[in-house]
Assembly symmetry: C2
Homo-oligomer: 456 residues x 2
């Protein structure tokens, strides 16, 4: 049987795992430095937990798990009836009780609802786990990918936004990825919708604005006309969007917004929230065209873009009013951010930002000259490992040049050799595998040589 | 809708994730110190990759994923026919093309077969990932659990066994779990089967011996009689098993084995392999009753048991001849070990072996006395974080005692307070939240105070 991989999935070999781990560890370290706590939920949830939460299109992309034991004869009649429902596009617990998680937010909401009584609010959790979507695979879009979220729930304080924005800045600074952190506020968009005829206009306005980057202001205006917005509304939205094209600093943008929304209570509330954030966090930019497609955001929204690479957002998030209402626990507001790890990986790979040290799979390889030297080699291995230096003995006794070829492919930093001369003299020959520098050393001198030789 | 969790699955809240991460990180660190490289494979594989690899019982426990798009009308007739196959207990790609992985070994074999030409052998990989089984949930048995494997493939050298045994010893030493590492060799069991009438007896003998711990030697003998073994064979097996009850040291066991198997070439080979291992690794014990149920082992086998807790094995592994033959790439032998993380967790929890520091969710909490102090608090937070001290400001301005209650539940190490006096004097009040010790300090003095106060 020929081995192959399901469409839209990936194996991560050693080099890629290390690079990904470097990103995850950086994010995790910063999350914990800011007092966020890890949470992990299962890969699958009960169907009813997930279905209906992501819209009709989302529902279709959920991977459902077939119930086990359908082959039992007594279940056949019922199973056939139940299967009809699946063919009708409905759910049927008789066929599938469980489904793979589609994002981390709904399982988090389910967790909070289930543990509401025990949770110490405000609850600051982070979660780094894979999710699955039956999307058509294409470049940069996978059926299994890792999400990386941090949320604070049970607190309305804008200070949480300050912390989350600082997390973005600190993570990307540590990764050495230059980014632009843009913020906006859904309350301002809500005000715009109200002034255009009512809050029910919010979705269509949001969708149109979301396309600004791709299709330009004129086509956005065309689309708004098509969607039945009238001329005064169109003019208002145009004036609003043009604010973005004036290249204003935050202070000027805030002034312009205050004048535009001077009669809207909710608009002014959004503006004052923006003002608070730019007063408390350096180097963030108000972008009035930022909309964030998802509907559940109700306050601050944020998006992060890389500066040196042409690419969409590599992070985003926002504030929401009600996390767990769907699970019968109303009144828990929150704010969260997410990192797009696959895209961050691509940016860092393109700009060569991964530390070189990640490539060394093992610091030192001992050449195997035969069983007579094995005990001495074991002693060296244990000595190096007790000093936290990764190392290995080539396990088989094969030709020297074949062992070197292996070491070369493995990108080892150093090789060590114990042959008859060395065994007799109580020494080890150690060679910097990059520079070629070689010395005969006492075992205790190896580590010193490695650190000096590396820095040359 | 009431929130709930699928049967047999678990949420891991902050404290549990940290304890689990402590185990994973310890294992990962040791794997890498020994030159093992990380690999990650997707959660699901194509059906044909998994089916038929785990026996009939195993196949039934594989979670299959329902294909998406079955609701499309043009697929209905075919889908109904295909579903009949599912009801007959067969596979049908029309209904389910993919399934969740059942272990890490088969996906690893699939990876090796797919990348055979590019892999630098011997290939030392480790893999720490969840797997899924539709087992009936019961205490200590879950439908999602994490496996933790290390394998060397493409090398026949027994030195690989030496390294893997040392990994076991080092991991458990670092975790401070006292263990007994037992070894045996399948070649000896094969010799026993041959002497009992033929190699085809191996499975029944293995199964019987595997039960020794549970049912005792007499019942094992009864079972062997029932399985049709004749008296001379029974006597031989009895003699063999009694070796285990004599409490011999390794040298005596080896002598006894050599005499028992003096006429069996394969037996003597197994014995000499055992001898090599006890000569190269300290503190391992030959246990002739160790069999390891799985059929694919062909040489060394190993099992690790905790000493201070009554529990089954917390680790096991062995040597196999052919990893990838099923995927059309024959001739790749290997040896591997596995850690039973859930059981290790239980042992460590029972014996209180997790470091106390894991419980501190955040080192320092700043009390929030109002927006007037926010900028000063931000300055302190950034200062502490730049010194790698995790900290947070309570985000909402609420009563002092409510903030303390939160800090208490969170098990913070220290709290810091900036009120009007402190702001005027340029100081911070810092309190050791355990001892109650409190001082007014300059910001730069906080870290010194924290490290001294902690050690008192």
């Amino acid at each position: 049987m020929k081995a192959n991989l399901p469409q839209g999935t990936r194996d991560f070999g050693p080099e890629i795992v290390k690079k990904r781990q470097y990103i995850f560890n950086t994010i995790r370290t910063v999350f914990e430095l800011y007092g966020f706590q890890p949470l992990e939920t299962p890969a699958f949830e009960n169907m009813e937990t997930l279905m209906g939460k992501y819209g009709d299109e989302g529902d279709k992309l959920i991977f459902k798990i077939l119930n086990n034991g359908l082959e039992r004869v007594e279940k056949h009649e019922q199973a056939k009836t139940d299967f009809e429902k699946i063919l009708e596009g409905k759910n049927s617990k008789g066929i599938t009780e469980r489904a793979l998680k589609y994002d981390l937010t709904i399982p988090f909401a389910r967790y909070v609802a289930m543990n509401h009584g025990q949770i110490n609010y405000p609850f600051k959790r982070y979660q780094i786990q894979p999710v699955w979507r039956a999307d058509k695979p294409q470049r940069g879009r996978y059926r299994e990918f890792t999400q990386c979220d941090a949320d604070v729930v049970g607190s309305q304080s804008l200070f949480n936004e300050v912390e989350l924005l600082n997390i973005y800045k600190e993570v990307f600074q540590r990764l050495e990825v230059k980014v632009e952190v843009c913020i906006n506020n859904r309350k301002i968009l809500a005000a715009l919708a109200e002034m255009c005829g009512g809050i029910e206009k919010l979705t269509s306005i949001t969708i149109a604005i979301d396309k600004l980057d791709k299709i330009g202001i004129d086509k956005v205006i065309d689309e708004l006309r098509l969607r039945g917005n009238e001329e005064p509304s169109i003019e208002l939205i145009k004036t609003y969007l043009q604010l973005a094209q004036q290249n204003n600093d935050n202070a000027k943008t805030l002034d312009a917004l205050k004048s535009l929304f001077k009669n809207s209570e909710i608009g002014l509330e959004g503006i004052s929230e923006l003002e608070y954030l730019v007063n408390h966090v350096d180097d963030i930019k108000i972008d009035v065209t930022l909309a964030r497609g998802l509907n559940y955001y109700t306050g601050s929204i944020v998006e992060v873009k890389p500066v040196d690479v042409q690419m969409g957002s590599i992070g985003g998030g926002g504030r929401y009013d009600d996390l767990t209402g769907l699970f019968d626990v109303p009144g828990i507001p929150g704010v969260g951010i997410s990192f797009g790890v696959d895209r961050i990986y691509d940016v860092m790979d393109e700009l060569n930002l991964f530390p070189e040290t990640l490539q060394n799979s093992v610091a030192m390889m001992l050449v195997n000259f035969g069983t007579a030297f094995e005990k001495k080699n074991l002693e060296i291995l244990q000595y190096l490992r007790s000093n936290n230096i990764s190392c290995e003995l080539y396990p088989d006794v094969i030709k020297f040049d074949k062992q070197l070829k292996y070491a070369n492919k493995r990108k080892v930093g150093f090789i060590a050799m114990v042959g008859e001369d060395e065994l007799r003299d109580g020494l080890v020959s150690v060679k910097n595998f990059t520079s070629g520098e070689q010395q005969k050393l006492k075992m205790e001198e190896i580590i010193g040589f490695m650190s000096i030789s590396k820095n040359l």
